[in-house]
C-alpha cells in the first residue's frame, strides 16, 4: 500500500494519542521530506511535545501511523532514534565531563567513532569557543550547552533533525548563527522538524509552517517567493491559535 | 504547643513517614513477642528440670542408700544449678542462647564440669537473635535516617524552604517542633511494645526507666547525627548516603574490627589448656603414693588433716581429695580464663565509649544480665555452690559417717544469685558524650 507521503523522512498519518480519557492528539497528519524544514507552531497544551514523543517512540499511538525513515517508532524505537538527532530545549550533558568527552560519549552511544579533527571542526562550526572544549560542562551557559548539542547533531550526520524550542534563551547573534546552521543542514539533505512557539524565528527558516491546535493541524502555510511568509498573516493566525 | 500539634498532624499526613513509624512499631512488637516466647521457653525448661532432677536423685538414693556409702552418694548424685532469665532478658537474650542456663554438677573436680556446653544449633545462633536490642541497635537508626535525611533538604528540593521559613514565626521553633515530633514518633514506636513486654515480664521499674533512657540516648545520637549531616546542606540523596555509611561503620564494621582486635589482644587459650591440665593432674594421683596427694590436699585443707589415715584399700576421701587437688592445679589457668573473659568484656565497653551502637547493645545486656559478665557470675555461683557441695559431703567422707536416705535431702540446694543487672552509667555517658561531640562538630562546621 502506498500513500501520498510515502518516502518522506517523517510521516504522520491520522495520529491519535489518548492518555486515559484525555485525547491529546486528534487525527494529526503531517510529513517532512528530506531537505525540508517544517515549523510546528503551537501554544501550551496544543500537543507539541506529545507529537515529539510519538516521533521518538516514547509514546505509542492510540491509532494512526507514525513512520520515521520508514520505521515505526513504537516498534523500533532504537532504530528510529539512531536516525534522529534531537536537540531539546534544555540540553542535558554529563556535568563532570568536558564538551569533548560528552560529545565523544554520546557519539559512541550512537555507534559512531568520532575523529578528533572532525569534532573540533564541528565545535568551530557551531561557534563554541576553543577554551571551552576541554572544560567540564558544569560551568556552561545554556547557549554553550545548545551549541554542544548542535555539534553533536552535526557529527551524528542524522537524516532527521528534531529541534525543540531551539532558540529560546539564545541571544540574537546566536540565533542568527543557529538559523544559518539549520539552512546548511537542509542543504545537505536533512529533514528538519522545529517545534516552537517562536513565530519570528521559525518564519526565517521554515519551508512550511503548521499550526497545531488541540492536537491537530489547523492550517499549513508554505513559504513562497523572496519574502517567504506573510508575517502579518502568520501573526494573526498564531494569535488565533493561542487564543483557542 | 500548637506548633507541635501542627507538626504531628503533618507527620501523620505524610504517608511514608507514618508507614515507617508503623513499620518500626511492628518490628519492635514482633521482637518483644519473640523475646517473651524465648524467655518463657527457658523458664519452662528450668521448671521442667526440677521434677526430673528430683526423680534422678531419688533413683540414685534408692540404691546408694543401701550401702550407706557417702562416696557413692557424692560420686553419683548430680545437683542442678540454673540461671533464671532476668525480668529484662526478653529484651536482650544475649549469650543465653550459646551458654547453658541449666547445669548439673557433682562434688568431683569442678573444672571438668564448669565449661560444659549446651545443646544448641550453632547455625541458629550464628545470625544472632531477633530481639528488642537488635531492633534498637540496628534497625532504629535506619528509621531515623529515613525520617531525618530530607528534613531540611527535602523542603529545599521541593522549593518550599524559603516560603516555609518565611511563614513560620521562629525557624528554630519550627524545625525544633518537626524534629521533636519525628523523634517522638520513633520513640513511641519503640517504647510502647517494650512497655507492654515489661508489663508482661514484670520488669522492675528502675530497669524500665533505664531502658527508656537508653532508647532516648541512642535515638538522640542518630537524630543529632542526622541533623548535623542535614546542616551540611547537600542533596537528600547525599545525606541518606552519608548517614547510611555512618550506620554501616558504626554498627557493622567498627564492632567487627573491635572484636578481632580484642580477641587477638587478649587470647584465651587457657580454656583448652586448663581442660588438659586438670585431667592430667587428677589422674596423676593413681600413679603417685597416696600420701603425696593427701599432703597436697591437707596443705590447703588442714581441717581434714586429723582424720583417719589411709590404708592400702581404696577410700573415697582420697578420690575426692585428688579431684580437688586437680582443680587447684588448674586454678591459676581457670582464674586467668575467668579474668580474660571479663577483660574482653571490659575492652568492648571501652569501644562502646566511641561507638554508640556498641554502647547501647552492651547497656541493654548489662541491664538484662545477659552479657558475658552475667555468664561469669553464673559460673561463680556454680563455683560457690560446688564449694558448698564439697563442704557437705566431706564430713561424711572424711569421718566415715554413713550416708542415709534422709541425708540426700540435706544436700545444699542451689540458690540462683539474682544477678540483677546494673545501671549502665558509663555506657550511657558514652552515648551522650558522642552525641554532644557530633553536635558540637556540627555547630562548629556551620559557624565556619
Amino acid at each position: 500500500m502506498t500513500t501520498e507521503g510515502e518516502g518522506k523522512a517523517i510521516q504522520i498519518e491520522d495520529l491519535v494519542v489518548r492518555y486515559g480519557d484525555r485525547q491529546v492528539i486528534d487525527h494529526l497528519s503531517l510529513g517532512v521530506a528530506a531537505g525540508e524544514v517544517y515549523g510546528l507552531l503551537g501554544g501550551n497544551g496544543a500537543g507539541k511535545s506529545t507529537t515529539l514523543q510519538a516521533i521518538l517512540g516514547f509514546v505509542s499511538p492510540t491509532s494512526g501511523r507514525v513512520r520515521v525513515v520508514g520505521l515505526d517508532p513504537s516498534a523500533e524505537p532504537v532504530g528510529v532514534r539512531r536516525a534522529i538527532a534531537y536537540i531539546p530545549e534544555n540540553v542535558a550533558l554529563y556535568d563532570h565531563l568536558s564538551a569533548r568527552e560528552n560529545v565523544d560519549y554520546f557519539l559512541r552511544l550512537a555507534r559512531l567513532r568520532p575523529e578528533q579533527d572532525e569534532m573540533e571542526a564541528a565545535f568551530r562550526t557551531v561557534g563554541l569557543a576553543e577554551e571551552a572544549w576541554s572544560r567540564p560542562v558544569s560551568g556552561f551557559s545554556k547557549g554553550m550547552r545548545q551549541k554542544t548539542a548542535i555539534a553533536l547533531a552535526l557529527l551524528r550526520r542524522a537524516s532527521v533533525l528534531l529541534l525543540d524550542e531551539p532558540t529560546s534563551g539564545l541571544d540574537p547573534g546566536a540565533t542568527a548563527d543557529f538559523n544559518a546552521l539549520v539552512s546548511r543542514l537542509r542543504g545537505e539533505g536533512a529533514a528538519i522538524l522545529i517545534v516552537t512557539h517562536d513565530l519570528i524565528g521559525v518564519a526565517d527558516i521554515a519551508d512550511r509552517i503548521g499550526f497545531l491546535e488541540k492536537g491537530r493541524i489547523g492550517d499549513e502555510m508554505v513559504a513562497e517567493g523572496p519574502d517567504r511568509f506573510d508575517l502579518r498573516a502568520l501573526h494573526d493566525r498564531f494569535a488565533r491559535v493561542r487564543a483557542a | 504547643m500548637t506548633s507541635l500539634l501542627r507538626e504531628a498532624r503533618f507527620l501523620l499526613s505524610l504517608r511514608s513517614a507514618a508507614l515507617a513509624i508503623a513499620c518500626l512499631f511492628l518490628l519492635t512488637a514482633v521482637a518483644i513477642g519473640a523475646g517473651l516466647v524465648e524467655v518463657a521457653r527457658q523458664e519452662a525448661a528450668i521448671a521442667r528440670i526440677g521434677p526430673q532432677q528430683k526423680a534422678d536423685v531419688a533413683a540414685v538414693a534408692a540404691w546408694a542408700s543401701k550401702g550407706r556409702d557417702p562416696g557413692d552418694a557424692a560420686y553419683y548424685t548430680f545437683h542442678a544449678t540454673w540461671d533464671p532469665p532476668s525480668d529484662l532478658a526478653f529484651a536482650a537474650i544475649g549469650t543465653r542462647d550459646v551458654s547453658p542456663y541449666v547445669l548439673r554438677v557433682r562434688a568431683l573436680g569442678l573444672e571438668a564440669q564448669l565449661y560444659e556446653g549446651e545443646i544448641g544449633n550453632p547455625e541458629a545462633a550464628l545470625p544472632g537473635r531477633f530481639d528488642f536490642a537488635f531492633v534498637l541497635v540496628y534497625l532504629a537508626p535506619l528509621f531515623v535516617i529515613l525520617l531525618f535525611h530530607d528534613l531540611h533538604s527535602g523542603e529545599r528540593e521541593a522549593g518550599r524552604l524559603r516560603a516555609l521559613e518565611a511563614s513560620v514565626g521562629s525557624t528554630f521553633g519550627f524545625w525544633g517542633a518537626r524534629v521533636a515530633v519525628r523523634g517522638a514518633g520513633l520513640f513511641i514506636a519503640l517504647a510502647i511494645p517494650f512497655l507492654v513486654g515489661a508489663a508482661v515480664a514484670g520488669t522492675a521499674a528502675w530497669k524500665v526507666a533505664a531502658v527508656l533512657t537508653v532508647i532516648l540516648a541512642y535515638l538522640a545520637f542518630w537524630i543529632v547525627l542526622g541533623l548535623v549531616v542535614a546542616r551540611a546542606a547537600r542533596s537528600s540523596l547525599a545525606n541518606a548516603m552519608t548517614l547510611a555509611a555512618a550506620w554501616m561503620a558504626l554498627t557493622l564494621i567498627l564492632p567487627a574490627i573491635g572484636h578481632v582486635v580484642i580477641n587477638s589482644a587478649i587470647p584465651l587459650r587457657q580454656g583448652m589448656e586448663l581442660g588438659v591440665k586438670q585431667r592430667t593432674a587428677v589422674h596423676r594421683a593413681w600413679d603417685v603414693p597416696k600420701s603425696e596427694t593427701m599432703n597436697a590436699f591437707f596443705r590447703t585443707h588442714p581441717e581434714w588433716k586429723d582424720t583417719a589415715p589411709l590404708t592400702e584399700a581404696f577410700h573415697w576421701k582420697w578420690y575426692f581429695a585428688f579431684h580437688q587437688v586437680g582443680d587447684e592445679a588448674a586454678g591459676d589457668l581457670a582464674r586467668r580464663y575467668h579474668d580474660g573473659v571479663l577483660e574482653r568484656a571490659a575492652w568492648s565497653e571501652r569501644l562502646g565509649m566511641v561507638t554508640p551502637g556498641v554502647a547501647t547493645q552492651l547497656a541493654l545486656h548489662r541491664l538484662a544480665a545477659t552479657d558475658p559478665a552475667a555468664q561469669i557470675a553464673y559460673q561463680d555461683g556454680i563455683r560457690a555452690f560446688h564449694g558448698q557441695l564439697r563442704r557437705f559431703y566431706y564430713p561424711y567422707l572424711f569421718r566415715d559417717k554413713p550416708f542415709d536416705r534422709a541425708d540426700f535431702d540435706r544436700a545444699p540446694a542451689f540458690q540462683p544469685t539474682s544477678e540483677d543487672g546494673s545501671w549502665p552509667g558509663a555506657l550511657l555517658a558514652g552515648v551522650v558524650l558522642m552525641t554532644c561531640l557530633v553536635g558540637a562538630l556540627g555547630v562548629l562546621r556551620s559557624r565556619r
Binding site: 532514534r81 | 541449666v102 549446651e118 544449633n121 550453632p122 567487627a256 600413679d287
Partner: protein, 482 residues
C-alpha cells in the same frame, strides 16, 4: 558490545571522578583485605594451636604408666577439632561450636571452649571475615554506588539524552551493570585472592574453592542486577536508595535473624541436662549394673556363661568385670547416640526451615553455600562430633577388652583392698601406645557438593530473577519518556 563498554567506561569514569564513591570502594576493598588477612591469621593460629593440643593430648595418653585399663577409661582422651580448609574464608559456626571434647567412659561430654562463649558481646555483631564483607557489606556499598546510576541520570536528563542517541535500554543497563559489577569485583578481589591462595596452599578442595568463588560471583551479580533494575525503575535516586536499603535490610539483616526464631518454635531442642537425666533414666530401665538381681544383667551373665560353656563366673577364662564394662558401655553408648541423633534431627529440621527462607532472601543461599563449602556448617560439625564419639567408643571398648583379657578376675576383685593385687592389675604402658590416634575425616567431596548444589541452584535462580527484572526494566526504558 562496544556501546555497552562505552557506557561502562563512562560510568567508571564518573565513579573515579566522584571521590566519595571511590573512597568508599577503596575502603571496603581494604576492609576485605584486612578481613582476609586477619581471618587467615586467626585460622592459621587456631590450626596450629589445635594441632599442638591434639598432639599434646596424644602424648599425654601414651605417656601413661602401667595402669589398670579402667583407669585409662577414666583418664580419657581429648578430641580436638582440626581447622577446616576454607574456614578463613567463612568461619561459619566455628565460633559457636566447641572445639575440644573430653572423651571418657560412660559419658558423652560436650564440645567446649567455643569462641562465642568466651568473647565479648561484640561477636554478635558478626565476625570480621571475607564472608561477612561479601555477604553483608559489599551489597550495601553497591547499593550506595548503584542506586543513582540510572535514576540519577533520569533526574539530570542525561538518561533521555543517552536513549535519544539510539542506545537501547538493555544495552544501557548492561553497561551500567558491567561498571557496577567491576566495582563489586574490586571490593571482593582480596577475598577471591584468599580463596585462590587457600586452594593452592592448603587442604581445601579445588572444587570447593571454585564453587565458593562461583557462588559469591552469583550473589554479587544478583545484587548488581537488582540495583540496576531498581535504579532504572525508580523515578528518583532517593526512592531507589530507600527501596534498595530496605531490600538489603530485609534480605541480609532481617531474614537470617528471624529464621532461627521460626525454626526454634517449630523444632525445639532439649537442654543437655534433660538429656543427661533421660539417659540415666533409660539406663536404669534397661538394666542396673549396681543391682546383682537385675534381670538384664542376670540374663547377660547366663548368656556369657553359656557362650564359654562354664557354670560359674569364676570359671570364665576371661575377667567378667571387663565383659560387664563392655556391655555397660554398649548400653550407654547406644543411648547417647539415640539422644544425640534426636537432637541433630531437630537441628536439621531447624536448618531446613531456615533454608526454606531462601525463597525470600538470596543471602540465605550464599550463607548455606559458603558455610558448606568451607566445611564450617552444622553438618561438618556433626561429622566431627560423631567421629569423636565413634573414636571414644572404640577406645573405651578396646580398654574394656583389655580389662577382660589382660587383667585377671582375682586381681581385679582385690585391687581396691590389696596394694599388691592393685599392682598386678596394672597392665603394660605398651598398650596405650598401641591405641589408634584420633584422625577425623573431613566431609567427603560428594557430601559437600550434595549439600552445596541446592544452595547454588537457589542462587542461580535469584540471578535469573534479577536478570529478568533488569531486562524488563531495560525494555521499559526504551518506551519510557525518561
Amino acid at each position: 558490545m562496544s556501546v555497552i563498554l562505552s557506557v561502562a567506561h563512562n560510568e567508571l569514569r564518573h565513579l573515579v571522578r566522584s571521590r566519595v564513591a571511590l573512597t568508599g570502594l577503596i575502603l571496603v576493598a581494604l576492609l576485605t583485605f584486612a578481613a582476609a588477612l586477619t581471618s587467615q591469621a586467626y585460622q592459621a593460629d587456631q590450626a596450629a594451636l589445635r594441632e599442638r593440643l591434639q598432639h599434646a593430648a596424644d602424648e599425654d595418653f601414651e605417656a601413661q604408666p602401667n595402669r589398670h585399663p579402667h583407669r585409662v577409661v577414666h583418664f580419657g582422651h581429648f578430641a580436638i577439632r582440626p581447622a577446616s580448609g576454607l574456614a578463613a574464608m567463612d568461619p561459619g559456626v566455628e565460633a559457636y561450636t566447641g572445639n575440644m571434647i573430653f572423651l571418657e567412659g560412660h559419658r558423652q561430654n560436650s564440645a567446649n571452649f567455643g569462641d562465642a562463649r568466651q568473647s565479648s558481646l561484640l561477636v554478635r555483631f558478626g565476625q570480621l571475615s571475607p564472608a561477612l564483607v561479601l555477604q553483608v557489606i559489599a551489597p550495601l556499598l553497591l547499593v550506595f554506588i548503584g542506586a543513582g546510576m540510572v535514576a540519577g541520570e533520569r533526574e539530570r536528563g542525561t538518561l533521555r539524552q543517552s536513549l535519544l542517541a539510539g542506545v537501547s535500554g538493555g544495552a544501557l543497563l548492561a553497561g551500567k551493570g558491567l561498571a557496577l559489577g567491576a566495582a563489586a569485583l574490586v571490593i571482593s578481589a582480596p577475598a577471591f585472592a584468599l580463596l585462590l591462595w587457600l586452594g593452592v596452599s592448603s587442604a581445601a578442595r579445588l572444587s570447593a574453592v571454585a564453587l565458593s568463588a562461583g557462588g559469591y560471583l552469583a550473589y554479587l551479580a544478583f545484587w548488581t542486577l537488582l540495583i540496576i533494575a531498581v535504579s532504572a525503575t525508580a523515578r528518583r535516586s532517593r526512592s531507589a536508595l530507600i527501596a534498595l536499603v530496605g531490600a538489603w535490610t530485609f534480605a541480609v539483616v532481617l531474614t537470617p535473624r528471624v529464621s532461627p526464631e521460626i525454626a526454634a518454635a517449630l523444632a525445639p531442642l532439649p537442654t543437655r541436662v534433660e538429656t543427661d537425666i533421660a539417659v540415666q533414666r533409660d539406663l536404669r530401665a534397661m538394666g542396673d549394673s549396681h543391682n546383682p538381681n537385675d534381670p538384664y544383667f542376670a540374663a547377660f551373665k547366663q548368656k556369657t556363661l553359656k557362650a564359654y560353656g562354664v557354670e560359674r563366673v569364676e570359671d570364665l577364662p576371661v575377667n567378667y568385670r571387663g565383659l560387664l564394662a563392655l556391655e555397660g558401655e554398649k548400653l550407654t553408648s547406644s543411648l547417647f547416640n539415640r539422644y544425640s541423633n534426636q537432637a541433630f534431627a531437630a537441628m536439621e529440621a531447624q536448618g531446613r526451615v531456615m533454608d526454606a527462607l531462601v525463597v525470600v532472601s538470596p543471602t540465605v543461599a550464599i550463607r548455606r553455600l559458603s558455610m558448606t563449602l568451607s566445611e564450617t556448617d552444622l553438618f561438618a560439625y556433626r561429622l566431627f562430633l560423631e567421629q569423636a564419639e565413634a573414636y571414644r567408643y572404640d577406645l573405651v571398648q578396646r580398654l574394656n577388652r583389655l580389662q577382660a583379657t589382660a587383667v585377671t578376675a582375682a586381681d581385679d576383685a582385690a585391687k581396691s583392698k590389696s596394694a599388691s593385687a592393685e599392682a598386678r592389675s596394672r597392665i603394660s604402658a605398651e598398650y596405650w601406645r598401641a591405641m589408634p590416634h584420633f584422625d577425623p575425616a573431613r566431609p567427603s567431596a560428594a557430601d559437600v557438593m550434595g549439600r552445596a548444589l541446592p544452595a547454588l541452584a537457589a542462587l542461580l535462580f535469584w540471578v535469573v530473577a534479577g536478570a529478568l527484572f533488569a531486562a524488563q526494566a531495560g525494555r521499559r526504558l526504551n518506551r519510557s519518556a525518561a
